[in-house]
């Protein structure tokens, strides 16, 4: 993560946790209710929040202490844009289950949304204290530190960011809604996740999408998505090759030529290598002069990636969604949403990848998550 300018921060969105993964399995639901929470989750995914709330309240009425149920309730409030209620739920949850990092993490996301970065920081530091290896919290904390730094610099240097900050704030909120909207649609994928390269699943998703009306409308208001007026989102989670095919059909300027096709394939190949934990292919997707994050040495970076990919137990799934490519001679920019799933960790982020053409291959020169 490189932060070029904090004066106009590129707001990286904090990752909201959508599932309690650690420890909560302990609080097993009684068999009679066994299907209740998955039902709630399904409703959340479909954006049917009032129904989801009804279900989860019913579930909680007989087991008011249940962590999983309360967590979902907090999540529903978040989705319904009721941050104060959500904060209340997550706060009490973190008091009752201080060992769980997830409620802290989500509290932090909500606080950050309200620009209460000090509180967000405290919450994330708590999450990390309970789980020192908790990657999402670290990632979020990095963003919060950057925000706090930006605020401190504003005060130190009297930078007049009042306008910019307001805009950023709005953007952040939209981003969060967008994220949740998309992610809600998306989780259909996990079931079909392994079959990224195969076609059938995406169709279903594409159908599901219009149903999730709120997310679609919000997407259009996202600054990034609005400007290029690209028809890309339509083809959202489909494999890359499909996107490229879809583009001409979606009319206006089919600038999508062979090059963007190639770039799309390069990105997909990179994601596939990541999933297979094929380090040779994965690292080979990066240009020799790839800008490593934080300016670390190439060697260290490769070691770190290898540790985190090949060294990880369990299955990794990397899904590319809503890919947009811009070709400019021998350089290209690919923007997409990346849904990453591994045991104990799932995240969605918007990625911007800069590629350069080396011979007949497109290689990654720079990689940024937002």
């Amino acid at each position: 993560m490189t932060i070029k300018s904090l004066v106009q921060p590129r707001f990286q969105q904090l990752k909201l946790l959508r599932a309690v993964t650690i420890g909560l399995a302990i609080s097993f639901a009684a068999p009679a209710f066994a299907d209740s929470l998955p039902e709630v989750q399904r409703l959340i995914k479909q954006g049917q929040y009032p129904q989801a709330m009804e279900k989860v309240d019913a579930y909680l009425s007989s087991r008011p202490k249940d962590a999983q149920g309360r967590f979902l309730k907090g999540l529903i409030y978040t989705e319904m844009n009721k941050p104060n209620e959500a904060i209340g739920v997550f706060t009490r949850l973190s008091e009752d289950y201080p060992e769980l990092p997830e409620p802290y993490n989500n509290l932090a996301v909500l606080y950050a949304q309200q620009r209460q970065y000090d509180k967000a920081r405290t919450a994330l530091e708590m999450a990390i204290r309970t789980h020192p290896s908790y990657a999402i919290a670290y990632e979020n904390l990095g963003d919060v530190y950057a925000k706090l730094a930006s605020q401190a610099y504003d005060k130190a240097l009297q930078l007049d960011n009042s306008n910019a900050t307001t805009q950023n704030k709005l953007a952040l909120i939209r981003d969060l809604i967008t994220t949740s909207g998309k992610a809600n649609v998306k989780p259909t994928a996990p079931a079909a996740a392994p079959a990224v390269a195969t076609a059938p699943a995406p169709v279903k998703v594409a159908e599901a999408k219009p149903a999730a009306a709120p997310s679609a409308s919000v997407v259009s208001t996202t600054p990034g998505a609005a400007t290029p007026a690209a028809p890309a989102p339509v083809a959202a989670p489909a494999p890359v090759a499909k996107v490229v095919e879809a583009k001409p059909a979606a009319e206006p300027a089919p600038k999508a030529d062979a090059a963007s096709d190639e770039v799309g394939r390069a990105i997909q190949a990179w994601a596939n290598a990541w999933e297979r934990k094929d380090m040779k292919a994965y690292l080979g997707a990066y240009a020799a002069d790839f800008r490593t994050p934080k300016g670390m040495s190439r060697k260290d970076w490769e070691a770190e990636r290898t540790k985190r990919i090949a060294g990880k137990g369990g299955k990794i799934s990397v899904e590319i969604e809503a890919l947009q490519t811009t070709i400019n001679g021998d350089s290209a920019t690919a923007k997409f949403r990346q849904h990453y799933k591994a045991p104990g960790l799932s995240s969605s982020a918007t990625k911007t990848v800069t590629l350069v053409k080396a011979g007949n291959r497109w290689l990654i020169k720079e990689e940024n998550a937002r």
């Binding site: 730094a149 130190a156 009297q158 934080k294």
Partner: protein
């Protein structure tokens, strides 16, 4: 010059590099936050570091912060910075350090004010403030040395203010009557001088005057614009000496700081000497309107107490010789104390001499007393002292009391009067 000594020479500049470059500010090898915040460390550190608060300004805390940074204990440094900010919420320098320390958790940073696109002038201002504050803190005046300027204070001058513009420092000295009126160090404070430095010459040159002044008024906060902060004390620039040298401008004050910031950069005023509000309030308690001297120097000279006593005795003897020679009615002997360059208003030495001869001719006896004498050395290369006293003149046909001020300059080894007038 024997006995003359600058404190700067004795103390190495070992520190100057620290605020300029954080050599070690980089997150560790692994995840940045992991390095900066090892599990449990935040809590442990909170317990380990008491939030000490100094009443002598932020220098102590700044020094601790930079020491922590140098030792790459960034969490401790951040914690200390946050403590400092709780004490001074508008402290821009502390906000900048905080920004750096937070940013350092996200990526390695190399320089003070690491924000890219940071306005360079503002960062430079804050860096300059950090340097002068830390330097002044490490190089506090020693007990055995006193500012050369404070040769003799009047008994009723309880305190004297000495400003060093290059060091952005104001020193407050007490008139230690119990020790023969020797200056005793009380406290020192960070100050802001003119945007374009010192040695004011004309109106609007944005410079701070150099010279021997005194406080002429006390303007309370209620009567002032926010810019002047918690109060203001005008000084008598331009004084008679300044005017004689053709210096102009006006409205040079000691004053406080506007509410939107804790401190201003070392060079920021239009010529005034600016203190933080808390420092102004502390100094204000000791200022006597019309009495307290304010001596502004580009670079304070320090004398050992022995050398100081020698210089003071020499001048007192010289002034007393002038007084006795006046009483002797030997006008030539008396006039030997005056420089050929002597001027008082439009009167030159010849006119002055003729007048004195005429007056003295009618005298059968003269008695002169110099009460409430003060002797302040004028800052600068020329050897000039400012002598002020209440002159009690008695003679067979005239008695007169007046407050008189003289400027004496050493010419060819001898002190001569170059200006004289009522004060």
């Amino acid at each position: 010059m024997p006995g003359r000594r600058s404190l700067i020479l004795g103390l190495a500049f070992c520190l100057a590099g620290v605020p300029l470059i954080y050599r070690l500010l980089s997150p560790g090898e692994d995840s940045p936050q992991q390095a900066a915040l090892a599990p449990g460390q935040a809590g442990a550190a909170a317990a380990a570091l008491p939030a000490t608060v100094s009443d002598s300004g932020p220098e102590t805390q700044l020094l601790r912060i930079f020491n922590e940074i140098e030792a790459n204990r960034l969490s401790d440094a951040l914690q200390l910075t946050e403590t400092l900010l709780r004490q001074y919420p508008n402290y821009r320098l502390a906000h900048l350090i905080k920004g750096d320390l937070l940013l350092a958790r996200a990526r390695p940073i190399e320089s003070f004010g690491a924000l890219s696109d940071a306005p360079a002038d503002k960062v430079a201002d804050l860096r300059a403030e950090a340097i002068v504050r830390l330097k002044a803190y490490r190089e506090r005046p020693e007990d055995k040395f006193v500012p050369r300027y404070l040769l003799q204070m009047q008994p009723d001058q309880r305190f004297a203010v000495v400003v060093d513009t290059q060091r952005s420092r104001l020193y407050l000295y007490a008139n230690d009557q119990a020790n023969g009126g020797r200056p005793r160090f009380v406290a020192d404070y960070y100050v802001t001088q003119g945007k374009l430095g010192a040695d004011k010459y004309v109106e609007g040159d944005k410079k701070t005057p150099i010279g021997v002044y005194h406080v002429t008024a006390n303007l309370p906060r209620q009567k002032l614009a926010d810019l002047y902060g918690s109060g203001a004390f005008p000084i008598n620039y331009p004084n008679e000496w300044d005017r004689q040298q053709g210096r102009g401008g006006s409205g040079i004050w000691l004053h406080g700081t506007p509410s939107n910031t804790f401190a201003r950069p070392p060079r920021a005023s239009d010529g005034c000497v600016v203190l933080t509000n808390q420092d102004l309030d502390a100094v204000a308690k000791n200022l006597q309107v019309g009495v307290t001297p304010v001596i502004i120097s580009p670079s304070v000279e320090w004398l050992s107490l022995d050398d100081w006593a020698k210089e003071r005795d020499e001048l007192n003897a010289t002034i007393d010789a002038w007084r006795r020679d006046w009483e002797s009615r030997d006008t030539d002997r008396y006039l030997k104390h005056y420089s050929p360059r002597f001027k008082a208003g439009s009167q030159d030495l010849a006119a002055f001499a003729e007048q004195k001869r005429q007056v003295n001719a009618s005298k059968e006896w003269i008695k002169v007393a110099t009460d409430n004498l003060s002797v302040f050395r004028h800052p600068g290369k020329d050897e000039v002292v400012v002598v002020t006293f209440e002159q009690d003149y008695r003679s067979n046909n005239l008695n007169n009391r007046m407050k008189k001020r003289q400027y004496w300059q050493r010419e060819n080894g001898k002190w001569k009067i170059i200006y004289e007038g009522s004060a």
